[in-house]
């Protein structure tokens, strides 16, 4: 083989690997996940006591968004092998060959370090430490350790997705308090029924790539039972902001009504069993769970922003 043909091959390979567009890089940031993270982070900022300059609040949100996006890119880098085999993830930029794994690693690492430093310098170092913890937890604890080794992967790993309102709160107050932990716990309890509902009708995908999701390891019956248990815990946790006095009657009523509907959907999955409507019911819970979390945090946001908070008698100001 001549030197010229070797050079041409190298150039052609280089050309193929330089094909990623700006949109592909944006896709690495998991924009849909990022939107929920930004929203819950915003609620943390609005609900926290004290004031924050709008420019600093915007900067905090931007850092949360970029940090979350960076975790997504690092997750796609590490999971590229299994992403390629699952129908839900096979169209991602790395399995499609539009972006090289190394490029995603560099992109994710740069954004991770950049977002944490920017948060520390421009907002405060408590928020920056929590952001670093979030990214580290998602990459090292969830993606690298738990995801492929235990069916409890999304229970413990769910903590990474629960940090954003706590980071928003810390951006305003510079500290972690019981109220921000309550916001954290709502998302923490929400994650298992949300992901297990998805795993119920995508169990085949996870089995194919040996990811030990609960339906694959413990079976669908046990998964349905766990969904119901976590749904009860979730609804109880969703009322913590009222009990702690930083949410009022409007939030309490919304959380209770939405919670009862959530429980009804979880119970319907349990009673349907492996029946022919099983997948449809799991999909319904998965879809509603996204709306549910949005509704809880939106009500909290509106209640604080519009001054609609009517204290529940005997439960704080």
């Amino acid at each position: 083989m001549s030197d010229l043909s070797v050079t041409n091959e190298r150039l052609e390979a280089e050309a193929r690997h330089n094909g990623g567009s700006a949109r592909d890089y944006f896709e690495l940031l998991k924009p849909r996940v990022m939107s929920l993270v930004i929203f819950t982070g915003l609620v943390g900022i609005v609900v926290a006591p004290g004031t924050i300059h709008p420019v600093i609040a915007f900067t905090a949100l931007l850092c949360i968004a970029v940090g979350a996006g960076a975790s997504g890119a690092l997750n796609m880098w590490y999971d590229a092998d299994i992403d390629a085999q699952m129908s839900r993830t096979s169209s991602r930029p790395i399995p499609q060959g539009r972006i090289e794994p190394g490029e995603a690693l560099g992109f994710g690492a740069t954004l991770s370090v950049g977002s944490v430093l920017a948060m520390g310098v421009m907002v405060n170092w408590t928020a920056a430490a929590l952001l670093a913890l979030t990214i580290g937890f998602y990459l090292f604890v969830y993606t690298m350790w738990l995801k492929r080794s235990t069916p409890q992967n999304i229970v413990i790993g769910g903590a990474a997705g629960a940090f954003p309102p706590m980071i928003g709160w810390a951006a305003v107050t510079g500290s972690v308090s019981l109220e921000s932990i309550a916001l954290f716990l709502i998302i923490f309890m929400w994650t298992p029924p949300h992901f297990w509902a998805l795993a119920l009708y995508r169990a085949g995908d996870y089995e194919k790539v040996s990811v030990p999701m609960l339906p694959v390891i413990a079976g669908k019956r046990e998964t349905r039972k766990q969904i119901l248990i976590y749904s009860v815990l979730l609804v109880a946790t969703s009322l913590a902001p009222v009990a702690l006095g930083f949410a009022g009657l409007v939030y309490g009523a919304a959380a209770l009504c939405a919670g009862i509907f959530f429980l009804a959907l979880a119970a319907r999955i349990w009673t349907e069993g492996d029946g022919e409507k099983a997948d449809g019911r799991a999909k319904a819970l998965f879809g509603f769970s996204i709306l549910y979390l949005f509704l809880l945090f939106a009500t909290l946001l509106v209640e604080h922003a519009a001054g609609l908070k009517i204290a529940v008698p005997g439960l704080g100001a």
Binding site: L11, N18, A22, Y25, T59, M122
Partner: protein, 66 residues
């Protein structure tokens, strides 16, 4: 060799043919779009750093002891 060259030339659209460095016009266009996106991100970062500096220093400058 010559026959092969003609065949491959006939198969591809002239506007999609790679140049001497192996890059097609489409790849150049993507690189240009990436560079533009990067430029916008840098401009936005400069604006953000400037704004945050003004916000953080603003009060201190106005209220400094002379």
């Amino acid at each position: 060799m010559e026959g092969e060259e003609k065949k491959s030339e006939g198969e591809t659209n002239p506007s999609e043919r790679p140049d001497a460095s192996g890059w097609t016009p489409e790849l150049y266009a993507r690189r240009k779009a990436r560079a533009k996106a990067m430029a916008w991100v840098l401009v936005a970062m400069i604006a953000l750093f400037f704004l945050v500096t003004v916000v953080k220093l603003g009060g201190n400058i106005a209220e400094r002891s002379i």
